[in-house]
Symmetry: D2
Subunit: 343 residues, 4 copies
C-alpha cells in the first residue's frame, strides 16, 4: 500500500504494537453483529510512534505537545455532529463513527500494518513514558471499554462484593478496576487456569475455574458461600458468552447491579424476565469508549504499575507474518492478549 | 371467621372496596413465582374504613390524626430489621415481608373479606377525602408499583418519548406518570380496544392495538415512525408477557432506558444479549413499593382528578359472592380493574 | 464593518432578532466576573436567517438540511479538545470557548449587528417553523441555560413543590420546566408585578411579590404555609442577587435540592454553612449550555406553544439605534426580554 | 442513677469505651445549632458490652444472634414514621429522632456513664471480634458520618484527586475512604502536625500544614501545583471551620464536587455565590448516618486493619473522672480521638 499524504491535522504513525482482540477472531469468522467490508485491514488496538504530524496538530487532547517520535493511542472517530453525539451525548453511539481496524486496506486505518494513517478528526492521547507497550496495549480496546462501562455503572462502591464473569482482557481489567475502586472482594469466574492465575496476581480474592466446576448451579453455590448467601452487589459480564447472562442474573444479589460488557455476537439465550423485577435489578450495557476513557485508563495503569504485573497480560508476541497463527491460537483461548510486535 | 382482638397499634377496618388484580388470577391458577399457602384469603389492594384503633395508633405515617370512620390504605409490612431493610435500604426486598392478600384466612389479612385486620407495624395512609373509592383503589397495587418503578428510573425527563407496553392498570398509570412527568409523547401498545380507549382519555398520544397489529416487526415500524426513526428514549414494560421483553429491547432508542414492571411469572423468553451492549441500554426492574409510594400516588391522583376520568379504570363492581365470576372475566381481559364493592 | 469572507463550514446570517440579556447590562457596567475586551460587539442570543453557507455546511447538528433562508440559532463554540471538553466532558467549562457577543466588532460575532459571522466549528440548530421569533428568542441564553441546569438537577420529580427565586427570563423558563416536568406546585418569588403576572399565565401556582413582601422572613413564612410547613423540595435561584442564596437555603425543605442558575457577579453574601449539613442539602450550580439544550428547548417550546402565551416574554421591540435606551430600561427592570428587531 | 428496668426489646450495656467528640466540647460551650436540655448525659459514640437483653431482642439488625457479653454499637433512634423517615426516606432528618448523648442523665442514654440503656427501637450492630475498642470507637460518630456522606457523594471515582480539609477524625476517615475508594491522590490540609503524621500513615499522598502555611492563597497554590493546575475533582470539608468553605470553593476543580461534612455551628462566612455557577459545582451536605453506615464502617475497618494502624486515632485514654480534663485538651486540639476507657 502507498503511504497516504498527510494533510492538515492528520498523523502518520509507525505501528509499534498491535493487539489482537477476540473481535478480530470473530471478524475472521464473520459472526459479529457488525459486517465490515472485505478486504479489510484489521487491528483496532494499536500503539504507534509518530512519523509525521499534519499541519495544526500540535497537541494531544490534554494539551500535551506532540512531536515526531511520541507514542500515541487513538479512539474511533466520532462525527461530533449527529443526534447521538450532540443531543444524546453518547458518542459511542455515533451514527457516522469511523473506526480503525474495520475498513479497507487502502485507507491504512488498521494496526495490522507497518504504518497507519490517523485522520484529522481522530482524538489521540500520548502513552505515558513510564508504560511499556505490553503494559499499555490493553487500553486500546478492552480497558477503555471497561473504564467506560464502570462509569456507566457509577463505579463500584467501597465494600461491595463483585463477581467478574470471564477472565480475558475485559474480565481482568474489570477485576483491577473493581479491586482498586474499593470492592471488598472480587471473584473471577472463568477459564483457563492460566488466565485465572494472572487474575490472582491482579488482585482477585477468589477464582472459580469453569473448566473444573462445569455446573452453573454449583458455581452459584460457591459464589453465594463467599458472599454471606446473598450474592455479590455487582456482577460484571466479561465473557462474551450469551449463556453467562443467566448465571449473572442468578448470582447477583437482590437489588444489585449487572454490568454487561462482553456480549457482541448474534447468540441468543433464554432468560426468565421475572428475575429482573423480583430481584429489583439494574442491568447496564456498555459498548466502546471515548478518548476520555483511554486517558483515564492510561493514567490508572501508570499509577498502579508498581503494584501489579500489568505487562503479563501480553502472553505472546508475534511478527506480522504470523498473524493467522496468532488468530488461531487466540480462538483456542490459548492466549490472553497476544500482540504483533513491530519493534 | 372470628374478628381478631385489636391489640396496641393494630387496626380493624371494614372493607369498603377490594381491587381484583391480575396477580389474583395467577394466584388462582398457581403460575406465580411465589407460592402462598392454601387456603388463602386474597385481596391485596384494599380501601378500609377504620372500625377500631389499637392503643397508640393515633396518626397515619404523615402525622395526620386517625379516627374511627377514616378511610385508609396500607402497605405490605416490612420487618425494618433485615439486611435488605437496613443495609441495602430496599424494604421491597425485605426477607420477612409479611403481606396482605397472601396469607391464611384466619389472620384476616386479605381484602376479599368484610373485615380486615391491620397489624401494629403496618404503615397506613389516609385516603384523601376528595377521592372516590374508584379513583383511589388502583393505588393499592398497580399505581404504587408504578410510582416506585418511576423513582428507580429517575423519572421521565422533559421532552422524552415513552412507549408503554400493556394497557392494564400498570400500563395506564405508567402512561399517566409519563405524560404528567414531561414526556412529549406517550405511545401505548396493548389491547383490547376498550383499554386503549381509556388510554387515550388518560393522555396517550397514540395507541397501537396488538389485536390489530399482530406482527411485532410491524409494531416496531409504527413506533419508529412516531419517533423520528430512532425509537423512544424510555420503554415501560407493563404487559406481564415475557415476549414483550424482546419487543422492548428492539424498540427502545440506543442509549435509552427500559423499565420492567410487569414480569411476575415463570415464563421464559429468548433474547439476544448483544442488544444490551450494542445499544448501550439501561434496564431497570422494579417490584412492589413502600408507603411513600402510596402517599405520592394518592397525592398525585388528588391533584389530577379534574384533568382525567380517573375512576373509569374501575370497569365493574361485584359483590363478594361474585368473586369467581370476577376472576374469570379478569382472566379473559374483559375488565381493566374490577372491584368488590362492600359499600 | 466589512462582511467577512465565508470559508468552508462557516455561515453568514442576516440577524432577524437579537435578545438583550441582563448580562449585556452588566457588560455595559463592567461588573461581571468575566472581562471581555473593548470595543465589543454584544448580542449573544440571536436568531439569524442564513445568507450564505460555507462549503461542506449542509446540515444542522440533527441532520436537518440547511439552506439559504433558514432561521438558525447557535451555541458558543467549544474547542472539543481541551481537558474539560474531552475528559470532564463538560464543554460549558471549555478552556478555549469562543463565544458570540463577547468579542471585538471586526469579527462580526455578536447579535447587535445587521449581519453575523458563524464560524465553521460552531454548532447550529434550525428554529422550528412553528415558532415566531418572540417565542424562540429566549432559547438563545436563558432557556438553554435553564434546560442545562435542570439536567444537572436530574429534573423535577412528579409531585415535588418548587420555589423559583426571580421572575426574569431564567425564572420564567424555570417555572415552565418545573410545571411541565411534574411539579405539583410552583411558587415564583420575584418582582415586578408585570413579570409575576406573566408567571401566572405561564403556570405559577402562586407568586410572592418581593416589592410588597419586603421581609425575607415573611416570604419564608408564606412559602412554608404553602408547603405544609416543610418548604419546597426544590428551589431554583434565578434572581442573580447574591442575598437570594440565604433565602433559598432557608426555604428549601430538609433533604432538598437547590439549583443555582442566576449568580454571575462579584457580589458576596454571608451564609451559615451549617445549614448545608444540618439540612442534608444538595446545591447544584450550572452555567451556560450546549447545542443539545438549544435543541431540547426549541422542541419543548414547539410542543407547548398552544398552551402558554410564550411570545409575551418579549415585552418590547427596539431598533438597533435604540440599543442604549433598551439597556437603560432593562437595567431598571422595566422589561422582561426586550429585543432588537431587524425584520 | 438507678439502672432502668429492661423491658421488651431494650438492652442494658456496660460501657466499655466512650469516645469524646468535638461536638461534646461545643456542647459544653453551648455554641451548637442544637440546644439540648441541662443537665445532660453526654457521650454519643460508645461501645457497650451487653449485660441484659430485653425479651424479643435476639439478633442485631443483620440477623447475627445477640447474647450477653457481646460488644455492640448503636445508632440514634429514628421514629420510622414521620414524613422524613417514610416519604423522604432520609431518617437522619427524622423529626422525632431520639439520640444518645443529648438527653437528661436519668434516662441513662449517654456514654459518659458506667451503664447505658438502649431503647427497644434502637438499631444495634455487633462489633466484629477482630476489632479492638480503639479501632472501632471512631465508627460511633465520625466514621459512620463519613460513610453516609460518601454515599451521598456517590463515592470517589477511580483516579480522582481529593482534598480533605481538616485532620480530625472526620478528616482522617474521609482520607481513608477516598484512598481505598480509588482516589489517585488524597491531600490533607489541616493541623496540628501530629494529626498530619497520622494522615500520612493512613495513606495521604501529601499533607499541607495550616500552622505552617497560614495563607489560604498559598495553600491553594500548593494544591493546584499537585493537581496539574486544575484542582481536585473532589473536596471534603471536615474541618468544622466556616472559613474553610471559601477555601474549598476556590480549590475544587471546575465541574467538581464539594462534600460538606464538618459544619455544625452558628458561624457564618462570606462567600461569592457566582463561584458555584461559574465553576458548575455540586455541593453536598451530609449529617449523621443510619445503622447501615455503622455496619459498613465496621466491615471496612475489619478488612483494612492489617493495612493501616487504625487504633492510633485514639491518642489518649481517660478515666471517667478525668472527663473535664479530656474536654479541655480536646478543645485545645491536643488529641485526635480521646476516649473514656471503662475496661
Amino acid at each position: 500500500m502507498p503511504i497516504p499524504k498527510i494533510g492538515p491535522g492528520a498523523i502518520l504513525v509507525k505501528v509499534e504494537m498491535a493487539g489482537i482482540c477476540g473481535t478480530d477472531v470473530h471478524l475472521q469468522r464473520g459472526d459479529l453483529t457488525i459486517k465490515p467490508p472485505v478486504p479489510i485491514l484489521p487491528g483496532h488496538e494499536t500503539i504507534g510512534k509518530i512519523v509525521e504530524l499534519g499541519e495544526g496538530r500540535t497537541r494531544d487532547w490534554a494539551g500535551e505537545p506532540l512531536k515526531v517520535g511520541d507514542r500515541i493511542m487513538w479512539a474511533h472517530e466520532d462525527c461530533g455532529e449527529c443526534y447521538f453525539c450532540t443531543v444524546v451525548r453518547m458518542p459511542v453511539l455515533c451514527e457516522r463513527r469511523s473506526g480503525y481496524g474495520f475498513g479497507p486496506p487502502e485507507l491504512l486505518r488498521g494496526g495490522f500494518s507497518e504504518y497507519e494513517y490517523i485522520g484529522p478528526k481522530t482524538m489521540v492521547v500520548k502513552v505515558p513514558e513510564e508504560l511499556s507497550g505490553e503494559e499499555a496495549i490493553g487500553v486500546g480496546c478492552a480497558f477503555r471499554s471497561v473504564m467506560a462501562g464502570f462509569e456507566r455503572l457509577g463505579g463500584v462502591h467501597v465494600g461491595e462484593r463483585v463477581v467478574v464473569q470471564g477472565a480475558g482482557p475485559i474480565g481482568l481489567y474489570s477485576l483491577l478496576l473493581a479491586a482498586e475502586g474499593g470492592a471488598s472482594r472480587v471473584i473471577v469466574v472463568g477459564a483457563p487456569r492460566k488466565r485465572l492465575e494472572l487474575a490472582k496476581r491482579w488482585g482477585a480474592s477468589e477464582v472459580v475455574d469453569i473448566d473444573e466446576v462445569k455446573d452453573p448451579g454449583k458455581r452459584k453455590e460457591i459464589v453465594l458461600s463467599l458472599t454471606e448467601g446473598r450474592g455479590p452487589e455487582v456482577v460484571v459480564e466479561a465473557s462474551g458468552v450469551a449463556e453467562a447472562i443467566n448465571e449473572g442474573l442468578e448470582m447477583v444479589q437482590k437489588g444489585g447491579r449487572y454490568l454487561v460488557l462482553g456480549q457482541s455476537s448474534f447468540a441468543k439465550v433464554q432468560i426468565m424476565p421475572s428475575l429482573i423485577t423480583s430481584k429489583n435489578l439494574t442491568i447496564i450495557g456498555s459498548i466502546s469508549a471515548t478518548i476520555a476513557h483511554f486517558y483515564k485508563a492510561l493514567q490508572f495503569l501508570k499509577a498502579k504499575r508498581g503494584k501489579y504485573p500489568l505487562g503479563e497480560i501480553v502472553t505472546k508476541r508475534y511478527r506480522l507474518e504470523e498473524i493467522n497463527e496468532a488468530l488461531d491460537r487466540m480462538a483456542l483461548g490459548e492466549e490472553i492478549k497476544p500482540v504483533i510486535d513491530f519493534r
